[in-house]
Amino acid sequence: MIELREVTVRYDDASAPVLDRVDLVVEESELVVVSGRTGVGKSTLLGVLTGLVPRFTGGRLSGDVLLDGASILHAPPRERADRIGYVGQDPLAGFVTDTVEEELAYGMEQLGLPTATMRRRVEETLDLLGIADLRARDLRTLSGGQQQRVAIGSVLTMHPRLLVLDEPTSALDPTAAEDVLATLTRLVHDAGLSVLLAEHRLERVLPFADRIALLTGDGGVLVGVPDEVLPHSPVVPPIVELGRAAGWQPLPLTVRDARRRTRGLTLPVPTVVPERAATAPLLAASGITVTHGRVVALREVALTLPTGSVTALMGRNGSGKSTLLWTLQGSGRRRAGEVAVGDATPVDPAAVDAGQRRGLVGLVPQTAADLLYLETVDEECSAADAGSGTAAGTCRALLDRLVPGLPGDQHPRDLSEGQRLALALAIVLTSRPRVVLLDEPTRGLDYPAKRHLSDHLRSLAAEGHAVLVATHDVEFVAQVADDVVVLADGEVVSSGPVRRVVAESPAFAPQVTKILGPPWLRVDELALTSGAAS
C-alpha cells in the first residue's frame, strides 16, 4: 500500500546518510515495528512517511514515497493528513484544542467534512477507543494512557490508511501501555488499518508485530517477520535473549510461546540469596504526607534507603512517584512527616539551604535537559565544579567514568539521550551527595544503554551510595534493583526485596519471571549455554 523506494536522508552536518537507499513496503492491515539502537534514524524513517522530514528537521531527502502507486514525496504533511495519521512521542505537545471531543474533531474540520459525518465519526471513535466517558474532559487532566488514546483517536477520525506512531508507550506504565497496544491491534485486525510504530521496549510490542523493520545503523534496514530479523538484532527483549541462550528455534515472541518450551529446560538450582543484613539506613523517611490543595498526593509514606542498595519506585502514572522524589530531596513541601539523611548525624534536607541540600541528596529530574544551560559539555562541567566548590575537573572525571571520551566541545542538546542523562548525573554527583534519586531515567534508552545505566547505578551503590529510581520499566528494575517500593494513589502498597514484590504483583513482573516463575528475574542468572536445552 505504501512504499519507500531508495529513500536516502542526509543531515547537513553528518558525513554518512541516516538512511541509505532504504526500501520498505507496508501492506494493508499490517503492524510493522521499527526497531534499532538509539539514534539510528527511527524517527527519521517515520518522518519520511509523514512528510515531517525534511520539512521540520532539515536535511536532504531523495528517493520516492509511493501511496497506492502515486508519489507523495512532494506533498506536505497537511496534504497527507487524510491518508497518513501521525502520533508523536508526547501526545500533550501535539494537542491543539482543549477538550477530548474537540480534539477528535479538529482534523476533520481541517478536511472540511460535513457536520453530520463529523458527529458520527467522533462517536464511533470514542467507542472504538473506549474513551466515551472522557468526552468533555480537559485534555490536560487526563492520565498518560488516556492522552495517548485520545491522540490516536484524533488522527483516526480522519480515516487514514496508515497510522505512524513514535514511541507510543514510552511514558506509560505497563498496564496503560498494554491498553494502548491492544487498541492498536484491534484497529489493525478489525478496521484494516496499517500501523508503523517505533518503540524501544520491544518486550511490549513484539507480541503484536507482523513484521519488524530493523535499522542496522549503517543506513540500511532489514525487514522481515520477527523470526528472521531478531537473530540479527542488537536490541532484543529478555524473552528473545532467553530463547537465544537456550538455543530455541524459532525464537519465542510471546510469554505463552516461551512457557511451552520451558518444559525441556533444565534450570540450575536457584541459589538462595540471603536477605541482606540490615545496613544502616542512609535515608529514613516516615509519615510523609503531601497535599496539593485538597488533593492528597502522598499519604503517610514511609521509606528507608540503606547504604549500598538500589531501590526501585514503581506505580502507575500519577501515583505520586515524582512528588515523593522531590519531597525526599527536600525541595518539595511536605505537610507532615520526617526525612533524615546521613548515618552519623541525620539531617533533614528540607531544613537546610539549596547548596547544602545538594550535598545530601542528589536528584536527576525527569527532564534532564532542565539542568543544562551552557553551550558545551566542558562549560557545564566547570560550572558544576565552581558551583559546588569542588576541585576543577571533578565533574569531568565523574562524566568520564560514566561515558568515557565524550567530546568536551559538544553541545549538550546534540548528545544522545543516554549521554545527556550521564552528563546530568555527573553534574548532580559533583556535589558529592550520598543519596541519589533518579526520576524516569530510562526514557529513550535502548537495551544496551539501559544495561550501561544499571551497571553505573550498581557501582554507585557499591561505593556507599543509596540509590532510588522511579521507573515504569520492569525489565530495568529486574536488572538494577535490590528492593522495590510500589506506590498507588499516594500510598505504599507493597515494598520489599525485588523478588518478593515481583512475585506478588504480576503487573510488575519481568518477562523472565513470567516465563519461568519466581525467583528468576534475569536471563544472566540462569547461566544457560546454547546446549542447555534438551
Binding site: 509523514t50 515531517l52 521540520f56 504533511p77 497537511r78 493528513a81 487524510d82 495519521g85 508523536g88 512521542q89 508526547d90 505537545a93 501535539g94 491543539v96 482543549d98 474533531a105 474540520e109 481541517q110 478536511l111 472540511g112 460535513p114 457536520t115 463529523m118 458527529r119 466517558d133 468533555a136 474532559r137 480537559d138 487532566t141 487526563l142 492520565s143 498518560g144 484524533s154 480522519m158 496539593h292 502514572n317 500519577g318 512517584k321 515524582s322 512528588t323 525541595s331 539549596a354 541540600r357 545538594r358 529530574p365 525527569q366 527532564t367 535537559a369 532542565d370 539542568l371 543544562l372 544551560y373 560550572a383 565552581a386 558551583g387 559546588s388 566548590g389 553534574i427 559533583t430 524516569e440
Partner: protein, 375 residues
C-alpha cells in the same frame, strides 16, 4: 426557550457585557454604578460554569477595588478642587516653582474625595463588566467565532492562549531543577541558568505543536485561482484605505464632508466583501458550531437595552446621570429599571454545562504528567 444546560454563544455574553460597560461609562452616579456592578456580579454567580477561566472574576473584582482605592488616595495625596467642605486639614507640602500646578497634600475636601470615588467607581464598573464577560464566555470559543477568512489568526491566538499555562509549568519545573545543581549564583548567571532551558523548552514545544498541527491538516491549501485571489486582495486594500481616510475625515472637521461618512461606509462595505470573498474559498467546516438561538438574542438585547436606557437617562435626566459632588445622588425609575434589565440573563440564559463529570481528575496526577509530557 430551552432550559437544558448548554453553553451560550460567547458573542452574546460579550454583547451583554459591553452594553453594561457602555451604560456605566455614561453616568457618574454612584448608585447606578454600584447597581450595574451588582447586576454583573449576580449574573456571573448565576451562570458561571466550572471551567478554569471562570474563576477569573475574583481577580477582576480585586482589580476594581484597587482602582477605586487608588483614585481616592490620589485625591488625598495630590489634593483636588479648591473650596468645599474641608474634612481633614492636612498641611500642604511646599514644592518648588517648576512643578507649579501640582499640589502635595493640603486640605482634604468632601468634594474632592467624592469626585475621586465616583471616577474610580466608573472605571471599576468597566473592569467588572469586562471581567464578567471573561468569566462567562469561553475565551477560546470566542476566538473560534471569527469569520472563516481570519481562521488562521484565530487559531494562532487560541494556541497562544493555551501556551501560557504551559509556560508557567515550564518555568516552575526549570527553577526547581536548577536548584539541584551547582552553578554561578550571580544575577546574570542565575538569569541565564533559568532562561536558557525555559526558552529551549518553549521552542521545542512550539515545533512539536507545529508538526502536530501540520500533520493533522492545518493550513491545507484549497485550490484557488489567481483572479479570485486578486479580487480578494483588491477588496481588502480598498476597504482598509476607505476606513482609514473615512475615519480621518470624520475626526478632522476641516476635511471635505464627502470623504467622511460616505468614504467610511464604502471602506466598510469593501472590507466586509473582502473578508467574505476570502472566507468563501476556505474549505473547512466546524464541529458543533455555536448556534445563535433565542436565548442568545435575549441576552444580547438585555445588554443593549441597558446601554440605551443609560443614554436616555444622560440625555433627559442630567442630574440623575451626573449628580455632581454637591448633591445627594438619586435614582429615577428609568435608571433603576434600565439597570435591572441587565439582570435578565441570570434567568433567561440556559445554565452552563458541567465539564467535570464524576471521578474528577486528581490535580497531582495532572501536574506529574505535565512533567512527564515536557520531554
Amino acid at each position: 426557550m430551552s432550559r437544558l444546560p448548554r453553553d451560550l454563544h460567547p458573542v452574546a455574553w460579550w454583547l451583554w457585557a459591553l452594553g453594561l460597560a457602555a451604560g456605566s461609562s455614561m453616568t457618574t452616579n454612584p448608585l447606578t454604578l454600584l447597581l450595574l456592578m451588582t447586576v454583573a456580579a449576580v449574573v456571573v454567580a448565576a451562570r458561571r460554569s466550572d471551567h478554569a477561566w471562570s474563576g477569573s472574576f475574583r481577580l477582576y473584582v480585586g482589580l476594581a477595588i484597587v482602582i477605586v482605592v487608588m483614585r481616592v488616595v490620589f485625591r488625598l495625596v495630590f489634593g483636588g478642587v479648591d473650596g468645599g467642605r474641608v474634612l481633614l486639614d492636612l498641611p500642604e507640602i511646599p514644592l518648588p516653582d517648576w512643578v507649579a500646578g501640582v499640589r502635595l497634600l493640603g486640605p482634604v475636601t468632601q468634594q474632592s474625595l467624592l469626585a475621586g470615588l465616583y471616577d474610580g467607581l466608573r472605571l471599576a464598573a468597566l473592569v467588572i463588566c469586562v471581567g464578567a464577560a471573561n468569566s462567562l464566555a469561553n475565551p477560546k470559543r470566542l476566538l473560534k467565532s471569527v469569520p472563516p477568512a481570519l481562521y488562521e489568526i484565530g487559531t494562532a491566538l487560541v494556541v497562544a492562549v493555551t501556551i501560557f499555562p504551559q509556560l508557567a509549568d515550564s518555568v516552575r519545573r526549570v527553577r526547581s531543577a536548577q536548584n539541584l545543581r551547582g552553578g554561578p549564583s550571580g544575577r546574570v548567571g542565575r538569569l541565564r541558568r533559568f532562561l536558557v532551558p525555559v526558552l529551549e523548552d518553549a521552542l521545542e514545544r512550539s515545533l512539536a505543536l507545529a508538526a502536530g498541527m501540520d500533520s493533522r491538516g492545518y493550513g491545507r491549501a484549497p485550490g484557488l485561482d489567481s483572479s479570485a485571489r486578486r479580487l480578494t486582495g483588491t477588496l481588502l486594500v480598498v476597504g482598509l484605505l476607505g476606513i482609514c481616510v473615512g475615519t480621518y475625515a470624520v475626526l478632522d472637521l476641516t476635511a471635505p464632508r464627502v470623504l467622511a461618512v460616505p468614504m467610511l461606509a464604502l471602506g466598510s462595505v469593501a472590507a466586509v466583501a473582502g473578508l467574505w470573498s476570502a472566507g468563501r474559498r476556505v474549505d473547512r467546516t466546524r464541529y458543533r458550531p455555536e448556534r445563535w438561538q433565542a436565548a442568545e438574542l435575549l441576552v444580547a438585547a438585555s445588554g443593549v437595552v441597558v446601554a440605551v436606557a443609560m443614554w436616555e437617562v444622560g440625555r433627559t435626566q442630567l442630574f440623575v446621570a451626573h449628580p455632581g459632588v454637591d448633591l445627594t445622588p438619586t435614582l429615577s425609575v428609568l435608571a433603576l429599571v434600565g439597570c435591572l434589565v441587565g439582570l435578565a440573563p441570570a434567568v433567561l440564559a440556559p445554565p452552563p454545562t458541567s465539564t467535570v463529570p464524576k471521578g474528577a481528575p486528581a490535580l497531582e496526577e495532572a501536574s506529574e504528567r505535565e512533567a512527564v509530557a515536557a520531554r
